[in-house]
């Protein structure tokens, strides 16, 4: 960012809560079905139909809020947000307004700036204020292409209308695009982790909007802000914010106006462009939804949701560092995915070697998984089998390179470590008398080198190791070889 300027960024995230049915009716919350297949009088907005709150939404909403460290208000009130649009069947969206599901929270994330190559600098904690999280229904979708006479007609698919959303709104507490990026990733991972949302931006079940303005460092007042939409991935979001910061600074410096408006990210041209100006802003005429009772959530219910909550990634990360003595980065990588973290923990415990387990999983297993386009959840090698392999390695029965080879084999055919080692004949020779016999022969045949070694040419030690390994077909345990060689050559 240009010297002397700072960016002011606030984020809004819409996360689709992972219920089977919609928020106010019993229709399936499935996308991709035949258009309008998952509809009924309620979500079609037919005259006389009434909403009834899906209890599961409250549970997943509570999970989402609590997993982000937010409270759940004992009473929240649904409100109507009124506006006309063809994909909004009732002419209003049932949302929450002045009494949201959760309010006045705080969230601490870890964040780091990135260099030109995208490498992270120091990770530091950042606490941001979460103004609110409210529950609401999604709208449907207007379709303008791929159907007959699209130049004359638009089509409407209401399968998505009425799917439950949690909208999380932050205060303008971010000062860089990477902070916003790390925030969205944090929220995304936590929501997935606790099962509150699939939180997949590409599938549209996590959507974000950024409010961006800039000001000179030291200024108290905010300047005009721009709302950024159409951010279809976290990366696009970060780029859009970055672009917008630069655009606004340049405009301010050139004395050109920065208008309060909504802009879209244009991924083809790598720039933001205007969608609508503030003059088109709606007056949503919010008022309490008379068709629904106030939503009350008991303390008992909250306690239950808390009790059922899995260990959260941040806590798990810190525990991995503490308990298993992993590096910050290794632990971070392991908790980037809930299944991977669980896989790691099972391996670490079964092998009784947490650090080697971490190394092996992060370098070898992840590579195999990536190559096979798989995740930890569907790894062909179970944590138990991997632990066996690590134990064998630990016991010195095979060496590191062999272990890698064995893993590749296990990955391919799903066999156990023992089986593969046996098939490959990798079992190491650690028996002292067998190795002694080989070494005696080598010493016998290479008297010149023995003399030279004893005369001070210590480099020749490697020569004897090599000869021994060769003679043993690579199976001799190097540790034992070393020991015996030292004895015999002294």
């Amino acid at each position: 960012m240009k010297e002397g300027w700072e960016a002011i960024i606030g984020m809004e995230i819409h996360a689709q809560l992972a219920t089977e049915t919609k928020i106010f009716c019993a229709c399936a919350a499935n996308f991709g079905d035949e258009p309008n297949a998952n509809t009924c009088p309620v979500c079609l907005g037919l005259p006389g139909a009434l909403p009834v709150l899906n209890e599961k939404v409250v549970e997943l909403g509570a999970k989402a809020a609590l997993s982000l460290g937010l409270n759940v208000n004992e009473t929240s009130i649904f409100a109507r947000k009124n506006y006309f649009y063809p994909d909004l069947p009732k002419g209003y969206q049932i949302s929450q307004y002045d009494k949201p599901f959760s309010s006045n929270g705080e969230l601490t994330i870890m964040t780091a700036e990135r260099d030109e190559q995208g490498r992270a600098g120091d990770w530091k904690p950042l606490t941001i204020r979460i103004e609110r999280m409210h529950l609401e229904e999604d709208a449907g979708k207007n379709i303008h292409e791929g159907l007959p006479e699209v130049e004359r007609f638009s089509y409407i698919d209401l399968n998505r209308a009425g799917t439950p959303l949690g909208e999380i709104v932050t205060a303008p507490d971010f000062r860089s695009s990477w902070q916003a990026y790390d925030y969205v990733n944090h929220v995304r991972r936590v929501l997935q982790w606790v099962g509150a949302s699939d939180a997949d931006m590409e599938k549209g079940n996590l959507r974000c909007e950024a409010n961006v303005s800039v000001r000179r460092i030291g200024e108290e007042k905010f300047r005009n802000k721009v709302e950024l939409k159409n951010l279809n991935s976290v990366r696009f979001m970060q780029k859009a914010i970055e672009f917008e910061i630069e655009r606004q600074i340049a405009a301010h410096e050139a004395g050109e106006p920065v208008n309060q408006e909504t802009r879209l990210w244009d991924e083809k041209n790598n720039q933001t462009r205007i969608m609508r100006s503030k003059e088109d802003a709606h007056d949503y005429r919010y008022f309490p939804e008379p068709d629904l009772q106030p939503l009350t959530v008991s303390k008992q219910f909250i306690e239950q949701v808390k009790a059922d909550m899995p260990e959260l990634p941040d806590a798990m990360h810190d525990r991995f560092v503490e308990e298993y003595e992993l590096s910050y980065n290794d632990a971070s990588q392991l908790v980037s995915d809930k299944d991977l973290a669980a896989f790691y923990e099972a391996t670490a415990q079964a092998s009784n070697n947490p650090r080697v387990s971490a190394n092996f999983i992060l370098s070898e297993l992840l590579r195999e998984l990536n190559n096979a386009d798989k995740t930890a959840k569907d790894s062909p090698v179970s944590a138990e089998n991997l632990a066996e392999l690590i134990k064998t390695l630990d016991a010195g029965k095979i060496n590191n390179n062999q272990a890698k080879e064995v893993l590749t084999e296990m990955f391919g055919n799903g066999k156990s470590a023992d089986e593969v080692i046996r098939e490959k004949g990798f079992e190491q020779i650690s028996d002292r008398s067998t190795i002694e016999k080989i070494i005696d022969e080598i010493v016998e045949k290479n008297q010149n080198q023995v003399v030279a070694y004893r005369g001070g040419n210590e480099k020749l030690f490697g020569f004897f190791v090599g000869q021994t390994m060769k003679a043993s077909g690579g199976k001799a345990n190097p540790k034992v070889v070393n020991e015996i060689l030292k004895e015999k050559l002294s």
């Binding site: 005259p47 006389g48 139909a49 009434l50 009834v52 063809p86 009732k90 008379p290």
Partner: protein, 467 residues
């Protein structure tokens, strides 16, 4: 011909014959009703309303008939589902003979706001039947059916019942499911019942009352057996009279009839108590803020996109919305949408909507205080008898004042009933209104039944079924 079928046929014949004069039905379902009568005849079930002919206001969804809401914007719209109340009636064996005329979207007090012509008062066809459920009131008053469903937002059952000389009951908010009742003002709307007698109304209420999983605002309050309650002695029942409301704007003949009814109740052993409802003077103002606000939102779905009327020759989305709603809605509906949009607008919300909600709470508290001292509150149902068609169409405020005695019950969510209590010098019916505490329908029906059995009106509408 079997008994059920012949009764239904008679009802249909009467409906068709009288409709030429009275215009109470927007749709008479002859074929459907006769088929249903035949089916019921074959069935051995002894359901409580078996073969009972009933009419349903045209804002209550029926998948076997239209649901127009008296509006051009819906026209002959055919719902995909039955309202819960309709399903319950059908399950109990009732036969719905047709859909009745109404003020467009239940907005009106005279039926003159129907897009399909005004229903006429059967006592004097130059007069309005009241509204908005005028068609249902006329269908009952003219003897076509013994009972009918209407809907209330501010008196739309009680006021036409009063104008037509029949019983009109508005139950407690949450007593009858609103699922399938096309919304006007959701926090005030409630399905109501017209009966030739309070017993007829009680029978229908018994069938349609109760909690509905499809309506979160219905309550899990036990439904008593109304038949057991209705005939009880009313001796010792305390009736509160807010005399302060009997002043300005109340027609003299109505005042006299209601004063007489108070004496009649006293003669039946009821205790008469003076009560005060100090915030009642704000009720009309509060009502027209809350009702229009909710209506402006509820009626947004009529946009021409998915069902009903869509204006032709609109080339852009905005134009389509505007033309559709311009041509599809009548003047009163548009007036209320604009009022409601205004009171919810940013900058005005606190001054209007939020304040109205506060006064609404005070109003409700007035009633709760009164019910500490009495079992029911008695007032006129309407300040006058049925007025002439056209008399108030140019003066919306005068029209709004005809609901002055009824809107409070909707704002407070409490039940109310209108019972015929006399005739004017011109031979037009006058109604008294009783309102009670939440869930006290049985008390109101009991009081109503006592009155009508001891002090029957003794006259019938001019246009009504013979015998």
């Amino acid at each position: 011909m079997s008994e059920i079928k012949s009764n239904i046929k008679k009802s249909l014949d009467n409906a068709e014959k009288l409709n030429e004069t009275l215009n109470s039905f927007l749709k008479i379902e002859r074929e459907y009703a006769l088929n249903r009568a035949e089916e019921l005849e074959k069935s051995s079930d002894e359901s409580p309303l078996k073969g009972f002919a009933i009419a349903v206001k045209d804002n209550i969804c029926t998948k076997f008939s239209q649901t127009s809401c008296g509006s051009r914007i819906l026209g002959n719209y055919r719902p995909q589902y039955n309202a819960t109340a309709v399903d319950k009636l059908l399950k109990a064996g009732a036969v719905i003979v047709g859909k009745t005329n109404m003020d467009e979207f239940a907005m009106g007090s005279s039926n003159e706001n129907s897009a399909f012509g005004t229903a006429k008062n059967p006592w004097d066809t130059t007069r309005v039947p009241g509204g908005s459920s005028g068609g249902s009131a006329v269908a009952v008053a003219s003897g076509v059916v013994r009972a009918a469903l209407g809907s209330e937002t501010g008196g739309s059952v009680r006021q036409p019942a009063s104008f037509c000389g029949i019983v009109g009951l508005k139950p407690t908010y949450g007593r009858i499911s609103r699922f399938g009742l096309v919304a006007f003002a959701s926090s005030l709307d409630q399905i109501g019942i017209f009966g030739q007698t309070s017993k007829d109304a009680a029978e229908v209420l018994q069938t349609v009352a109760g909690r509905d999983a499809n309506d979160s605002t219905t309550a899990a309050v036990e439904v008593p057996n109304y038949a057991d309650e209705i005939g009880k002695d009313i001796k010792g029942k305390r009736i509160g009279v807010p005399r302060a409301l009997f002043g300005e704007g109340l027609d003299n003949e109505v005042r006299n009839a209601v004063e007489q009814s108070i004496e009649n109740y006293r003669s039946l052993g009821a205790e008469i108590i003076d009560i005060d409802l100090p915030n009642s003077k704000y009720s009309i103002a509060v009502y027209y803020i809350i009702a229009t606000a909710e209506a402006s939102s509820n009626l947004a779905r009529f946009d021409g996109v998915r069902y009903g009327f869509r204006a032709e020759n609109a080339h852009r989305l905005r134009e389509m919305y505007m033309k559709t709603r311009e041509e599809g809605f009548g003047a009163e509906v548009k007036r209320r949408i604009m009022l409601g949009t205004y009171v919810l607008s940013s900058g005005y919300y606190d001054a209007y909507y939020a304040k109205a909600q506060k006064v609404r709470t005070l109003l409700k508290q007035d009633f709760l205080n009164a019910f500490d001292r009495c079992d029911a509150v008695l007032t006129p149902t309407a300040p006058s008898v049925a007025f002439k068609i056209g008399e108030k169409t140019d003066d919306p405020l005068a029209m709004y004042l005809s609901d002055i005695y009824t809107v409070s019950a909707n704002l407070a969510g409490i039940p109310g009933i209108s019972v015929p209590c006399g005739l004017s010098s011109e031979g037009l019916p006058i109604g008294l209104q009783l309102v009670g505490k939440h869930w006290s329908e049985a008390v109101l029906l009991n009081l109503a039944n006592a009155y009508e059995s001891q002090f029957p009106l003794g006259a019938k509408a001019r246009f009504s079924v013979a015998g």
